[in-house]
């Protein structure tokens, strides 16, 4: 069974590398959001460094929504979802593995490059570390919550819009605790960070079950 999951994981990574799109697109979108905000706000470095973590978090949230609509849709359209359903591995675990692969391609690059983009918002060392740490824990939650929306909209041709409407409300708690622990000063780092970690773990545990149920229903 773990062999099957490994095959699916490697397949998704290989497809992401061959086709491109998803990961790089999200990264460019992330960069352009972070670049454009200082132009809108004006040359106030204090303001910028104060709201910098929030900007990075909003940008990461929107960027991670971008590629999500293809998470299951590509497999549904070419019939590979049917083949996966014939495998002995339970669909919940397959969904889990697909989400992890998706996060590797779209979420992890955001985490790795966020300190670099944070420099453009005049964040100092501790703030850069805090943003990277919260994104590392928070972006998996965004991917897994998004997977529920992706599974629900799998049969819709233009599902991206509906997916955003479904998923954004679910991500509000993640955003609140992510930003409040990244924004040092007002509250201590650890308490919201632990809540954020709990949200991440809960979504990893529960979202695959919901997404798999939605995918099974999509066959009807």
């Amino acid at each position: 069974m773990s062999r099957i999951l490994l095959v699916i994981f490697l397949r998704d990574l290989m497809l992401a590398r061959r086709i491109g799109g998803g990961g790089v697109l999200g990264l460019v979108f992330f960069l352009s959001l972070v670049t454009i905000v200082p132009f809108a706000i004006g040359p106030d470095l204090h303001l910028l460094s104060r709201i910098g973590p929030a900007i990075l978090w909003i940008a990461a949230l929107l960027a991670s929504l971008l590629g999500l609509d293809r998470l299951f849709q590509a497999d549904h359209e070419d019939g590979s979802l049917d083949q996966v359903l014939l495998s002995p591995a339970p669909l919940e675990l397959i969904v889990l593995v697909k989400c992890v692969a998706h996060w590797f391609v779209t979420g992890l690059p955001l985490v790795v490059l966020s300190p670099l983009f944070g420099l453009m918002l005049d964040l100092d060392g501790p703030a850069l570390r805090a943003v990277a740490a919260t994104l590392l824990v928070g972006t998996p939650a965004l991917t897994f919550l998004g997977a529920i929306g992706a599974a629900l909209t799998v049969t819709l041709r233009r599902g991206g819009l509906l997916l955003s409407i479904l998923v954004v409300p679910l991500t509000v708690p993640v955003l609140i605790f992510g930003v409040s622990s990244a924004q040092s000063g007002t509250v201590p780092f650890l308490t919201p960070f632990l809540v954020l970690s709990a949200l991440g773990l809960a979504s990893i545990a529960l979202a695959p079950i919901a997404a798999a149920a939605a995918l099974r229903g999509a066959g009807e």
């Binding site: 019939g79 049917d82 083949q83 002995p88």
Partner: protein, 208 residues
């Protein structure tokens, strides 16, 4: 061919509903090792739905299905003992034929032929390392059919297997199917054109 045990598929009074609408109802079928059944009927009568229901992709409205294997070590569910080739070929255009077949093996398990051997049976060995996206519709279908030979599963469900195949490829498919039946496999095909194999069970949908 390794399928040596006897298998039996029994379908009793099967019906499938999508929403409120009953697609088809009251279909019964009994078949055993080495037997082939052709599902026929006009367009839209539910041939594809019938095959997808057997594959477990759709919930059954009513009726019963049972799958019995003698000498079965483990009572694996039916979905793990069947191959399904439908209108969508389940191939990734960006990956080569070899990669697609290796992934098929990885997902379906119980390997039989290597990708090269399987493609060779479909006389397509020369496309082994070409991305499937470069292939013609008929060649893609032949790669999808080669997946049948990659993993050892006794029940084959084929939805319009002859689509896009030329005369020669149809003959190749018949040979493969005859081998499969000869080794004790079962096959259920939805088709408008008879495959022309002897002793075919006819399942006619919509003939009430």
């Amino acid at each position: 061919m390794n399928i040596t045990q006897r298998c039996n598929l029994l379908i009793e009074d099967l019906s499938v509903a999508r929403g409120e609408r009953v697609v088809f109802g009251g279909v019964s079928l009994r078949m055993g090792s080495g037997e082939i059944a052709e599902v026929t009927g006009p367009n839209g009568v539910g041939k594809s739905t019938f095959l997808r229901a057997i594959a477990g992709f759709l919930p059954l409205g009513s009726g019963r299905m049972s799958w019995v294997e003698s000498e079965a070590m483990d009572s694996a569910p039916l979905a793990e003992r069947l191959h399904y080739v439908g209108h969508l070929d389940g191939l990734k255009s960006a990956l080569t034929a070899r990669e697609n077949l290796e992934i098929g093996l990885g997902i379906l398990g119980r390997g039989r032929l290597t990708p090269l051997e399987a493609l060779d049976r479909m006389e397509l060995a020369h496309v082994l390392d070409l991305p499937v996206g470069y292939l013609s519709a008929g060649q893609r279908r032949r790669v999808a059919l080669a997946r049948l030979l990659i993993a050892d599963r006794p029940l084959w469900l084929l939805d319009e297997p002859l689509t896009a195949l030329d005369q020669h490829a149809r003959a190749l498919l018949k040979v493969i199917v005859a081998d499969h039946l000869g080794s004790g496999g079962l096959m259920l095909a939805a088709t408008h054109e008879p495959l022309g194999l002897p002793e075919t069970i006819q399942v006619r949908l919509g003939a009430m």
